[in-house]
């Protein structure tokens, strides 16, 4: 910090800026997060209206959309009244009914961001961005590129600006047009404050200017910020910082202004008459923002109430068979909600569980011949372990169409006249007979099915890059104990316990990582499932577990597997290790799985117009598989779209309730955790993981243009880490419209089966966790497991809550309903006769 720059604290400004910029990591590590994370310190309504005013985002459905939902009965009048009374008092009910339902508002917006810097245009009639943006984007993309360009950025090891300076010094062609900018760049330290003195002049406006400038391309700035924070998110690491980006952009601006006006221009601040509105000034609520927030709540509670009614009306008197036929663990992922239902349907004696899909084992994974490690656990965790794959025998196939040779002059001449005709044939086949190809991102390719893994560590000195290779027996036991206790599986073990991770397959999909397991950092969960099973099968581990009160019979075997949520396939690992009895049982269960997968495919297909849902489940399943490898399908699956709930409790708490794949399901037994210790561990990641997924879908849905990635059809892959429209566009973080179009933007409702006071203690135990609830980013209901009374978390306390009564329909078979509609299906009680 220079003493003369008192009004402008560079460090602080950049820190703030990075906080507000989009935080999406490069595509290969696509991890869902709250798009408006920067505002999470505020209450949801204040946060959203501030984001809207500051940055011009849409933060809710439009008034018209809400009114249409109301008129089509998707928002209940009773819920609307209830929300109004609660927020505005009974005496204002009619006024606000009128405001919400009828009154006309001017809903056009004028964001604060960009208003100051737009004076270049109004005062100088110059469109700076149209000249500087393409240049900056191109340089950034070339510098950060991971493997598209053939000639890499010539200097790379010295950091962003130093590398460019090195090239600029040694090149006869310059990236600048004029002398001053070039000299500043080569001969001075290029402090931001000095450059802004030339451009802006008034120190008090520097911050605003930088925000205006960087938010004019928030996609690129966000990517630079993300890479600065986590350089390891690029395989080919690049040193870069937001500060460097700002410096370069300021230099380019000076360059453009100089070349257009020579010396005949003055700093921007000296020319404007009035100071612009402070970007960060508090944004007060207005009638329209209040009306919108009332609608948002009414919309959410119209749905939540039907779920809560369903839970209350669920009959739980079925006596449980002492020994289940088999047990199966799945990820809490909302997409596994239906497959569990169908498995239980096909074998009523089995038992299923939900738990985060890394199954409590955190490590880096190194596939054989791989040059890097992949992290296989939730993003915030940093594992100390490494698991290596050995003895593989698959050969990776290549596709010449991605080869760089075809872009060169002479080899291109040869290739275009030979391979070119092969392309024609491939195109033909790809359209009429889509099949798996090397271009497909196939979940089962994550790990070779017949490979071996270095799971057990016998010598704690065995290390690679400071990572311990494998786990010791003690470490294994700790993890398996925690896993089993968290889901309440501590006795009555069936002969076979499946641990099934999930992944997804797709082709022509730059966002492929967003379809895999979020708990495994956007990768398939197969390795974790296999590792956890191995640990649980280990004899010494069981001995330790027995000492800790969990006795697993010797006849019980754990078996890892992977569920492909797009193709609806399940594959198992290490089946050869099964005892002959278990092998027989496993074969029998195989039918259960395959029938369940067919039915699941059928239920999913109702949202996909290209498939006729009334066909037989088997046929549909085949079509779905073909679809997953079709290069012309922009929607391999719908991923987390429509997610709205997260239920933490025993399976009995939810079994028999049709939730239409809208719920994360985390198994939990309060009876073995009366003090809530285990619950703390369960709820800690729910905010960032489930809340993150939910809010990313929420905001990508309500403003697909500014907070989402827009339609994916024109997307162009930039440097293998991002997508943009065309070749000169800004990067587009967020979700493409094909992922969110069927999503209903409602906040997540977490329902916990435990005593309210315990739940309150749990969420209060950590500030970061508590923030999600106290600031209304997630709604929370605790259900007293004994009395079944519901309590709603509100303003820091749990208050008794009674949903607006509503009779939930009982059906014996959900299939006809599934076949009948593309829309969300209301809650049903399924009662098999």
């Amino acid at each position: 910090m220079n003493a003369e720059h008192t009004g402008f604290n560079e460090h602080e400004v950049i820190h703030d800026l990075k906080h507000y910029l989009p935080a999406q990591a490069p595509l290969k590590d696509f991890i869902h997060h709250n798009t408006l994370h920067a505002f999470q310190k505020l209450k949801f309504d204040e946060a959203t209206r501030s984001a809207a005013k500051m940055f011009g985002y849409n933060v809710s459905l439009s008034l018209d959309e809400f009114r249409n939902l109301y008129h089509s009965k998707k928002i209940c009048h009773e819920n609307l009244e209830r929300v109004i009374i609660e927020k505005k008092g009974k005496e204002h009910l009619n006024d606000w009914l009128n405001n919400t339902i009828k009154k006309e508002y001017d809903t056009s917006t004028s964001p604060r961001i960009g208003s100051f810097r737009s004076n270049w245009r109004s005062l100088y009639h110059i469109n700076l961005d149209s000249v500087t943006h393409p240049k900056i984007f191109r340089i950034l993309c070339s510098y950060l590129d991971q493997g598209i360009s053939i000639w890499k950025f010539p200097v790379h090891e010295k950091g962003f600006l130093t590398s460019i300076r090195e090239i600029e010094k040694n090149s006869s062609s310059s990236i600048f047009r004029t002398e001053r900018a070039k000299k500043l760049f080569l001969n001075t330290r290029c402090e931001i404050a000095d450059l802004l003195k030339i451009l802006v002049g008034d120190e008090s406006l520097y911050k605003q200017y930088i925000f205006d400038q960087q938010f004019a391309h928030q996609g690129w700035s966000g990517m630079v910020s993300a890479i600065e924070n986590q350089p390891e998110s690029l395989l080919d690491p690049k040193k870069i910082s937001v500060k460097e980006l700002i410096i370069l952009e300021c230099l380019f601006e000076i360059d453009v202004l100089d070349s257009k006006f020579d010396a005949n221009w003055a700093p921007l601040a000296s020319r404007i008459k009035d100071k612009p509105v402070d970007l960060f000034a508090t944004v007060a609520a207005t009638e329209i923002t209040e009306a919108i927030y009332i609608w948002q709540n009414a919309y959410e509670w119209s749905y939540y109430d039907s779920v809560l009614n369903g839970l209350q009306q669920l009959k739980k008197d079925k006596p449980k068979k002492s020994m289940p036929s088999f047990q199966a663990m799945f990820c809490i992922d909302d997409r596994e909600c239906s497959i569990r239902r169908y498995i239980e349907d096909n074998d009523p004696d089995c038992e299923t569980f939900g738990t985060p899909g890394f199954f409590g084992v955190e490590f880096y994974f190194k596939p054989e011949h791989g040059k890097f490690y992949s992290k296989l656990c939730p993003a915030p965790v940093t594992p100390k372990y490494l698991i290596k794959e050995i003895d593989t025998n698959t050969i990776r196939k290549k596709d010449v169409h991605f080869s760089r040779q075809s872009h060169s002059l002479l080899r291109g001449w040869l290739i275009s006249q030979t391979i070119g005709f092969w392309s024609a044939l491939k195109l033909f086949l790809n359209i009429f007979r889509p099949t798996m190809s090397p271009a497909t991102a196939y979940s089962f390719n994550h790990m070779d099915k017949f490979s071996k893994l270095t799971i057990e560590n016998t010598n704690s000195n065995e290390k690679e890059n400071d990572l311990q290779i494998g786990f010791t027996i003690e470490e294994m036991a700790n993890r398996i104990e925690a896993l089993l206790k968290s889901i309440g599986l501590v006795k009555d073990f069936a002969p076979l316990v499946y641990i099934i991770g999930h992944g997804s397959s797709s082709v022509n999909n730059p966002h492929y990582a967003g379809y895999d397991c979020g708990a495994c950092s956007g990768r398939p969960g197969s390795v974790n499932a296999r590792v956890a099973s191995f640990m649980a099968n280990k004899k010494h581990v069981r001995t330790i577990l027995a000492e800790r009160g969990i006795t697993i019979p010797d006849s019980t075997q754990f078996l890892g597997g992977l569920h492909d949520t797009c193709r609806d396939e399940v594959g198992f690992y290490d089946e050869s290790a099964l005892s002959s009895i278990n092998s027989g049982l496993h074969q029998k269960n195989g039918h259960v799985f395959s029938n369940a997968l067919d039915s699941n495919a059928k239920e999913r297909s109702r949202r996909l117009v290209s498939i006729d849902t009334t066909l037989s489940a088997k046929k549909i399943h085949e079509q779905l598989k073909t679809r997953s490898v079709s290069i012309f399908e922009p929607r391999p699956e719908l991923n987390h779209a429509t997610n709205a709930l997260c239920i933490v409790g025993g399976r009995n708490f939810t079994k028999g309730l049709f939730l239409d794949r809208r719920s994360f399901l985390n198994s939990y037994d309060y009876r073995i955790d009366l003090d809530g210790k285990i619950l703390t561990n369960i709820m800690k990641p729910l905010g960032p993981v489930c809340g993150g997924i939910n809010l990313e879908y929420f905001f990508s849905r309500v403003d697909n243009q500014k907070l989402g990635a827009g339609t994916k059809l024109p997307h162009n892959v930039m440097g293998l880490f991002g997508v943009a429209n065309g070749i000169d566009g800004d990067l587009r973080p967020g979700l493409p419209s094909q992922m969110i179009e069927v999503h209903d933007p409602v906040r997540l409702l977490i329902i916990v089966e435990h005593f309210p006071n315990i739940v309150l203690n749990v969420i209060k135990s950590m500030d970061a966790m508590y923030e999600w609830y106290i600031n209304d980013w997630i709604n929370l209901v605790a259900v007293n497991p004994e009395t079944k009374e519901m309590h709603l978390f509100k303003e820091g306390v749990f208050i008794p809550y009674q949903p607006i009564p509503q009779k939930i329909e009982v059906v014996s078979d959900i299939t006809p309903i599934v076949e009948s509609t593309l829309d969300n299906i209301p809650v049903y009680l399924i009662n098999k006769i």
Binding site: K28, N58, S108, T109, S110, D129, R138, C141, S142, G147, I148, S149, I150, W151, K152, E166, N170, S174, A216, D236, P367, G370, K371, F372, F402, S406, H407, S408, L409, G412, I415, Q417, G420, S423, K426, L427, A439, T440, V507, N508, P510, Y512, V609, S610, S630, F632, P634, K706, K712, L713, P714, N716, V717, G719, L720, A724, G726, I727, G729, D730
Partner: protein
């Protein structure tokens, strides 16, 4: 027999296009079926026809189809031709369009503008067929114009975003510039051969060399004009930078049009006109040099591209440069083979380009080798860095294109005295004066008389320049375009004594479409308070019908083959003598710029980000 087949191939896409126009917007299935059946039937019947043709000794078919206008010494006719070149272009085009149409029927599901997309694809296909079946430059020009406008519409498919519209306009301007070449080539060719010559006649060596013998300069001029047109269409130097910027629409449309079909049409034009410049050695050298320079520069640019589509685009440009060389060397078969291979390869590469993330990341994961540190050797370092920076800047090609228009913009902005008041008080009376002069033409001294056509065409040119740079008044900009045509008609009337009916033919389309366009803007202005040319207004969001009607009137006004004006334009040129370079220049420039000016009005008023902000809209930079 064969003739009727060709009618069928030309007519079928057109019928499909009309059908798709009248299909309701919400019938996704029907819309895509119409497109698939049209293109599919076209493809299959063409394959059958091709087989039949090959088995029957593959004769070159050429027939004069429709004489649209005839007067003494002048005939405007549509002519079709079918030979090996058409065969290859048709096979590749029909095959790719068929497959990509099927592709799109799934890919575009739920996209707003589904119908608009398939309309445009079919329209493009109409133009493509017209072009590759064309038997003379006039027919080719019809197809050429359709291709230009449908390209504009496809690039600006996401019409509510800033960049697609900006880039679509940029590409359209370059296409239009290329069209000058074609218009001037047609003009000179007409004087050279004293008729509208067909491509088949060009193959008559004796005829061509006879005419070229005494007019080498004219011959070179025609060849060079054709080369400009071909270079613009095929993204050769100095126009290359438009191609990557055209990749704004949905990936499959970029793949088929800018990856393969559209961009290879420059090659087609060269192949077609080959006999014309075959014996002009200097022209062949120029083409080889152009192709080679393009190849070398484009391959450099392709190598530094870090976005997948721009990389493929420049790689394609590089190969087309080589094809230019092949054509110039007379290796027709090789060129056709290379065209087909390159078209297939680039289409497929673009179609699977989104897969590159997972594929190449995997590749990187398994094969990564840390890069060695940078160069130490200072000489090779200097050359390498210089070439890298130049490639990164695309050798300033994009800036060059921008600079090309700059003088026009500067002049146009200096023309502040051309405002609505002055137009009414000075230019309208001046025009009436001009008409009076025309009436008393015989009384004008010869020197003045000789000067008048150029002078009047210059006034017309001034009108259109002003229109092109007008920032506020939409009506004024529109009227100036109309007036430009009137001045041209007046200028040519002085030039040669021709029938007034010809002027009438020329102006008829202008007047009708001009009035329709005027009324559309008038109506829009009564509804919307903000309609100007300073920024994009994006009114198509609320008024798509107005946008459509106005687009039609723009087309009419710019001599698009939907009104008689189209023929009129050609006739006008036939009345310019080969020594009247200035007149030809002003007239041709006027026609080019008025097309650009009209599309500019359309873009600014109806396309781009909507000025109303009550709904979701994208950032300008996205």
């Amino acid at each position: 027999m064969m003739h009727s087949f060709i009618y069928f191939f030309i007519g079928l896409p057109f019928i499909g296009f009309l059908l798709s126009l009248i299909t309701p917007r919400n019938r996704e299935n029907l819309i895509s079926k119409i497109a698939i059946y049209t293109v599919g039937l076209h493809f299959i019947s063409f394959v059958a026809f091709a087989g039949y043709w090959l088995c029957n000794g593959h004769p070159t078919i050429d027939f004069k189809n429709l004489v649209l206008f005839r007067s003494t010494g002048y005939e405007f006719f549509i002519d079709f031709c079918f030979d090996k070149i058409t065969l290859v272009y048709m096979l590749v085009g029909a095959f790719l369009t068929f497959l990509v149409t099927i592709y799109c029927s799934y890919y575009l599901h739920r996209e707003s503008g589904y119908k608009r997309f398939f309309n445009t694809i079919l329209f493009f296909y109409v133009g493509y067929n017209m072009t590759v079946f064309s038997g003379n430059l006039e027919t080719l020009f019809v197809g050429w114009e359709i291709l230009g406008i449908s390209s504009f519409l496809l690039i600006a498919y996401y019409r509510d975003r800033y960049l697609p519209v900006k880039n679509a306009f940029k590409v359209f301007s370059i296409y239009r510039l290329g069209d000058v070449g074609l218009i001037l080539a047609m003009w000179m060719a007409h004087h050279l051969f004293h008729e509208n010559i067909t491509f088949l006649q060009l193959q008559n060596d004796e005829l061509v060399s006879h005419h070229l013998e005494n007019h080498t300069i004219i011959g070179t001029f025609v060849a060079l004009m054709i080369l400009i047109t071909a270079a613009a269409k095929s993204a050769q130097l100095p126009f290359s930078s438009w191609l990557p910027r055209a990749m704004e629409g949905p990936t499959p449309s970029s793949a088929i049009f800018y990856g393969s079909l559209s961009v290879h049409l420059g090659v087609f034009l060269l192949l077609r006109t080959f006999p014309l410049w075959e014996h002009q050695f200097s022209v062949r050298i120029i083409i080889v040099v152009l192709g080679l320079t393009t190849s070398i520069i484009a391959t450099g640019i392709a190598r530094v591209q870090s976005s997948i589509k721009s990389q493929i685009a420049y790689a394609s440009v590089c190969q087309i440069g080589l094809i230019f060389i092949e054509v110039a060397c007379g290796f027709e078969t090789l060129a056709l083979f290379h065209f087909a291979g390159n078209a297939f390869l680039r289409t497929y590469q673009l179609l699977v380009s989104p897969s590159s993330v997972s594929y190449l990341i995997k590749e990187q994961f398994y094969n990564f080798v840390p890069r060695p540190t940078s160069l130490e050797d200072s000489f090779s370092k200097k050359i390498k860095y210089t070439f890298y920076i130049l490639s990164l800047k695309e050798f300033n090609l994009d800036t060059f294109i921008y600079q090309l228009w700059r003088p026009l913009k500067i002049i146009g902005r200096a023309l502040n005295f051309v405002n609505s008041r002055n137009v009414l008080y000075y230019f309208v009376p001046a025009y009436i004066l001009g008409l009076i002069c025309l009436y008393f033409e015989s009384g004008i001294p010869t020197q003045i008389h000789n000067f008048l056509p150029t002078f009047f065409s210059f006034i017309g040119f001034v009108m259109v320049l002003k229109s092109y740079t007008e920032r506020k008044n939409v009506h004024l900009a529109w009227i100036l375009i109309i007036m430009n045509h009137f001045w041209i008609a007046l200028a040519i009337s002085f030039n040669e004594h021709y029938m007034y009916t010809q002027s009438l033919l020329y102006l008829s389309g202008i007047v009708v479409m001009g009035i329709i366009g005027f009324i559309t803007i008038q109506k829009l202005k009564t509804i919307e308070e903000h309609v100007d040319l300073n920024l994009f207004n994006g009114h198509a969001y609320e008024h798509p019908k107005f946008a459509f009607v106005f687009l039609l009137s723009c087309l009419g006004l710019t001599g698009f083959p939907i009104t008689p004006t189209f023929i009129g334009e050609d006739i006008i040129f036939s009345h310019i003598r080969e020594d009247q370079v200035a007149l030809a220049f002003f007239t041709a420039s006027s026609l080019i710029i008025d097309g650009i000016a009209a599309i500019r009005i359309y873009s600014r008023v109806f396309l781009g980000p909507h000025i109303k902000t009550y709904h979701q809209s994208a950032f300008k930079s996205s």
